[in-house]
């Protein structure tokens, strides 16, 4: 069993971090994981994305043409990746940053105003976690507890103070996903 999630958005939207949280969740469950980012200076200011794959066997390609799920945090990402989501896969869209509905009917899609929700809990930059929460809820990749645990791991050390707000954001996403 292998799952591939593609996170895509503008640089600065926390795309890479959201991916790390998911990767940590898988790691904690003893799975094989790859976190594969777009990288380098040319990413500066531009778009960013990363692919997180988890599986119970040695992982081959760290990037895939048709991921099982996509989190799209801006319009270009939605336009570029909607078609690539696997049939019956998941597409989570931040409707605060996009101006259209998901058109495909053969996938499970959620459009939620993640940025607004995040702003409502006082931190615009938590939209990524809100979206992740929603994905986890409908995909059931992991349980909420595991994700919270992964969040803690990812924020250990310097960023401890952010744990609480992140968990709230995750919760909002979860609620929305249900």
């Amino acid at each position: 069993m292998q799952n591939e999630t593609l996170f895509a958005g503008f640089g600065g939207q926390g795309v890479l971090f959201a991916g790390k949280v998911l990767a940590h969740a898988a790691l904690e469950l003893g799975m094989e994981v790859t976190w594969f980012p777009s990288y380098g200076p040319e990413m500066r200011g531009g778009t960013a994305n990363c692919t997180v794959i988890f599986s119970d066997e040695e992982i081959g390609s760290p990037q895939v043409l048709n991921p099982t799920s996509v989190i799209a945090m801006n319009q270009p990402s939605l336009d570029k990746y909607e078609d690539q989501v696997q049939k019956d896969g998941y597409l989570i869209v931040d409707s605060s940053m996009t101006n259209r509905e998901v058109t495909r009917k053969d996938i499970h899609a959620i459009c939620l105003p993640a940025t607004e929700i995040a702003e409502s809990i006082g931190q615009k930059r938590l939209a990524n976690i809100v979206l992740l929460g929603a994905l986890i809820r409908i995909s059931n990749y992991f349980g909420q507890a595991e994700l919270e645990n992964a969040l803690k791991k990812s924020l250990e050390g310097k960023k401890e103070d952010l744990i609480a707000s992140n968990i709230t954001a995750l919760q909002r996403g979860f609620d929305y996903g249900s």
């Binding site: 790691l27 790859t34 990288y39 380098g40 081959g60 760290p62 043409l65």
Partner: protein, 375 residues
């Protein structure tokens, strides 16, 4: 032992530290820089040597000095940087001192780009420096494998007093995977008896040089190097096999191309296609013997690389052209998707093997249309 998520470049650096790295010299270059940055904090805190050189030329010659001085030493760089190290590498080989080089390959030639590529294969494997020498070149495919390779490479380099190259591509340098780190080794306390570490009245003085004005003396050195190389060819061949026991034909790919191929091979197996994957880890020495053996049980080799088909020639050579070889690759930093390779596997399975012309030419004709389509 606990598994942790590590970024490739940082894992490489930590593995070297645990292998007893005493002196690191390097110069920033994407997609390798995190290794240098990591060591800039890590080595000083351990009281070991970290120095950012003024250039790759400076770096390789500092490494050369540190190697002569008897230290476990390493540099890390990426394609354009390796080109600047060629003179130094040739000297190091000629002087028979050990060192480890990690090349995190990017798209080229020239300034190219920073995306994952395998275009340094010929430069590293067939010797980019002048004169007769053979560096050991190992090409791991995952971060765990990379760590283990770097960790072991220091011992291998010491054993043969040779250059040990770990060649990975940008994706391995940049991605994160769970790894188990090897134990921390003691750093060397006694300097090797051959090293330029000051005689201290305890031994004859040592002179380390690569100049032998008398050709006959140089030839003796060349001969010694070649004999060492024969030992290396005997002892250091490494590869990994997937689905090979009952395979009717095999994909051959190293590093990331190999792991992308793995996904494709699995998918093909799921479709009942009897294909296996042979993933060379030691590119130099190349698993010649193993490839030759397989010619008796396989219908053909399908080579996959992220370059214009460099290992391809070595596979044909090793196979002694006994069975057909097909090629597929992407260049310039484009990483193929498993789907592309699966497509080719299906074609081979259904249409069988072509033999007229050179596999490289067949592939180029194909690639042209593919590139157009992707535009």
């Amino acid at each position: 032992m606990s598994r942790e998520l590590w970024k490739g470049n940082e894992a490489i650096a930590e593995a070297a530290v645990r292998a007893g790295l005493q002196a690191y010299f390097g110069y920033p270059i994407t997609p390798q820089t995190e290794a240098l940055e990591y060591l800039s904090a890590r080595l000083p805190e351990l009281g070991r040597v970290f120095l950012q050189a003024e250039s790759e030329l400076g770096a390789i010659n500092m490494v050369y000095g540190a190697a002569c001085a008897g230290a476990r030493t390493m540099t890390t760089t990426s394609s354009p940087g390796t080109s600047l190290m060629m003179e130094g590498l040739s000297y190091i080989a000629g002087t028979e001192v050990p060192m480890v080089l990690v090349d995190v390959v990017r798209g080229g030639p020239g300034l190219g780009n920073i995306a994952p590529a395998q275009g340094d294969y010929n430069q590293m494997v067939h010797g980019g420096g002048h004169g007769d020498y053979h560096p050991i070149v190992l090409a791991p495919a995952s971060i765990q494998e990379t760590i283990d390779t770097v960790y072991e490479m220091f011992d291998i380099a010491d054993k043969y007093r040779t250059i040990g190259v770990v060649m990975v591509d940008g994706s391995i340098g940049q991605m994160m995977e769970p790894v188990t780190l090897p134990p921390m080794k003691e750093v060397r306390k006694i300097w090797p008896d051959w090293s330029a570490s000051a005689a201290q009245g305890k031994r004859e003085r040592n002179v380390l040089t690569s100049i032998y004005l008398d050709p006959k003396e140089e030839e003796i050195t060349n001969l010694r190097l070649m004999k060492t190389w024969q030992q290396i060819e005997k002892n250091e061949v490494r590869y990994k096999e997937y689905f090979m026991d009952d395979a009717k034909f095999a994909v051959v790919g190293f590093g990331s191309a190999g792991r992308v191929a793995l996904s494709a091979v699995r998918a093909a197996r799921a479709e009942g296609i009897p294909v296996g994957l042979f993933r060379p880890i030691s590119l130099n020495p190349f698993p010649r013997q193993k490839i030759l053996e397989y010619t008796s049980k396989l219908s053909g080799f399908f080579v996959v690389e992220m370059n214009s088909g460099m290992m391809l020639d070595d596979v044909i050579l090793a196979s002694q052209s006994r069975i057909p070889v097909e090629y597929y690759g992407r260049m310039g930093g484009v990483m193929p998707f498993p789907d592309e390779i699966l497509r080719e596997i299906r074609l081979l399975h259904t249409n069988g093997w072509k033999t007229e012309g050179h596999p490289r030419d067949r592939w180029l004709a194909k690639l042209e249309t593919i590139v157009k389509e992707e535009m």
